[in-house]
Symmetry: C2
Subunit: 287 residues, 2 copies
């Protein structure tokens, strides 16, 4: 049974999108909307229905952490090729909940200070604190994606990183963080259309970088690097989900559903009062 | 003329709420809705109408900062007595814009590390970077509010801080940050009702702290401390606005209006392309 009030799922979104043994990225149809029965309009209604549920879960998670009875948090990791829709997910899914409960980090090209440390140094500093929903817009995986494709580190160092990431994520998980790793998967043809739109519209020019076209030429190398990431780092404590993302409505709905499932697993409860409620009522009345 | 699409303002919200010479906090009616003609329903419609405008301004501000042509940012400082509605402002006004453009900080009781530095050390680290809307939930003003009322520092140190804050804010302002300082003003009777509600509802118990009632006994001392803050730190480059906040709809609408006015002053523009658009179209087509 799904936790969500999103009505048009035919199956558990985690089952259908999770990277398990034998997963092949090349088998995923970026145009598809697996597990969902509806069209764009139905998807929009489902997304709207999920907002109130996500808000309540988030507030409960935050409240529960104040009681010191739980250290639970959530970490959503977003990875994708350019234009795949990370920004839209953050704006429309993450942005639908109270910003006081969100810890969002956009990881850019590392600074000299960051490069002087191990690649996980800057990541660990932004791990969500108890009660928070952390969101990584890009992440430690850049260091084995662009890091590998662009040969920014020696092969042995890239090899080392997969294990280091697994150890790091296991430690976060053991400390109470539920990790949801998402790759938004678009087709190169879809990317071409989205880049063309950015070039057509003056209000989108700022989002365009000529380097985006250079990266396109490396598409197969990036897909290989993602496949290796999935083979090496989709673990029980931190599974990967590959979400077909040519349809933006589907990708947003799927990410919302994955967050809802993670929060339902935590099942945060309003904490009991740590004070004598009736005594405080009397004090308040006298104040 | 007001920049906003909020229709029911009868006058410039900045004029009517700004702390100017001779301002007396004790003259402000927390129940009032100065400058606004409508009721709660009209206020709700105005708030809704302002959201799209705020979103576009925020995106323009963010985009403009990418071009390096501008260092503009906005800083919203929120101060208030407990239950006055800071959280609601963050959720409903700040939360209506893209979280990627928001840099939100909730300042808590200082940690030992923070206390080992000057009081502005932790504040400066969270000043908004170019293109961002910074939001301070509590701020440097705690150090002259609770700091003064609870005598957490010697009187001479409290005195020093007003000047240090003015210097700090002038520096931020000179660097391109438009500062909007807001005090949400509720009456002690309204606070009593809101605290009573927190005690009635088990899902609100986590928001209640018995210390809140102790602070109520110090209400007049806090109002004095706020008056001194207004007398000493409402400057041209960083004015204070006192917003009657017994009506939540009014307070939210007023903060949104103040943000819209600040953004209109900046008037951020979509940056021009830094590349040859036609050449990039050709490269994309060939990719």
């Amino acid at each position: 049974m799904t936790a969500t009030s999103q009505k048009d799922w035919t199956t558990d979104v985690r089952e259908i999108l999770r990277v398990g043994p034998g997963f092949r990225l090349s088998d995923v149809d970026a145009d598809s909307s697996p597990g969902h029965n509806g069209d764009k309009d139905a998807g929009g209604r489902d997304l709207e229905a999920g907002v109130a549920q996500l808000e309540e879960y988030q507030e409960r998670l935050f409240a529960a952490s104040r009681s010191e009875a739980t250290d639970a948090s959530v970490l959503l990791v977003l990875q994708a090729m350019d234009t795949a829709g990370k920004g839209g997910i953050i704006r429309h899914v993450v942005g639908s909940v109270d910003p006081q409960g969100i810890m969002l980090t956009a990881f850019k090209k590392p600074t000299p200070e960051e490069l002087a440390h191990d690649f996980l140094w800057r990541i660990e500093k932004r791990a969500p604190t108890p009660g928070m929903i952390g969101v990584f817009d890009r992440s430690q995986y850049e260091d084995v994606l662009i890091g590998r494709v662009r040969e920014l580190a020696p092969p042995a160092e890239i090899e080392r990183r997969y294990g280091a990431i697994n150890d790091f994520e296991k430690r976060l998980s053991d400390a109470g963080t539920r990790i949801v790793k998402v790759m938004l998967h678009i087709s190169p043809e879809e990317q071409k259309e989205r880049l063309a739109e950015r070039l057509e519209r003056p209000d989108k020019h700022w989002k365009f970088n000529p380097g985006d076209i250079d990266e396109r030429a490396l598409w197969p190398a990036y897909m290989d690097a993602y496949q290796t990431v999935f083979d090496r780092t989709s673990t029980d404590h931190a599974p990967w989900y590959v979400i077909p993302a040519n349809r933006k409505w589907y990708a947003r709905l799927a990410v919302q559903a994955l967050l809802l499932e993670a929060l339902e697993d935590i099942d945060p409860q309003w904490p009991a009062a740590t004070f004598d409620v009736e005594a405080e009522k009397a004090r308040l009345a006298a104040s």
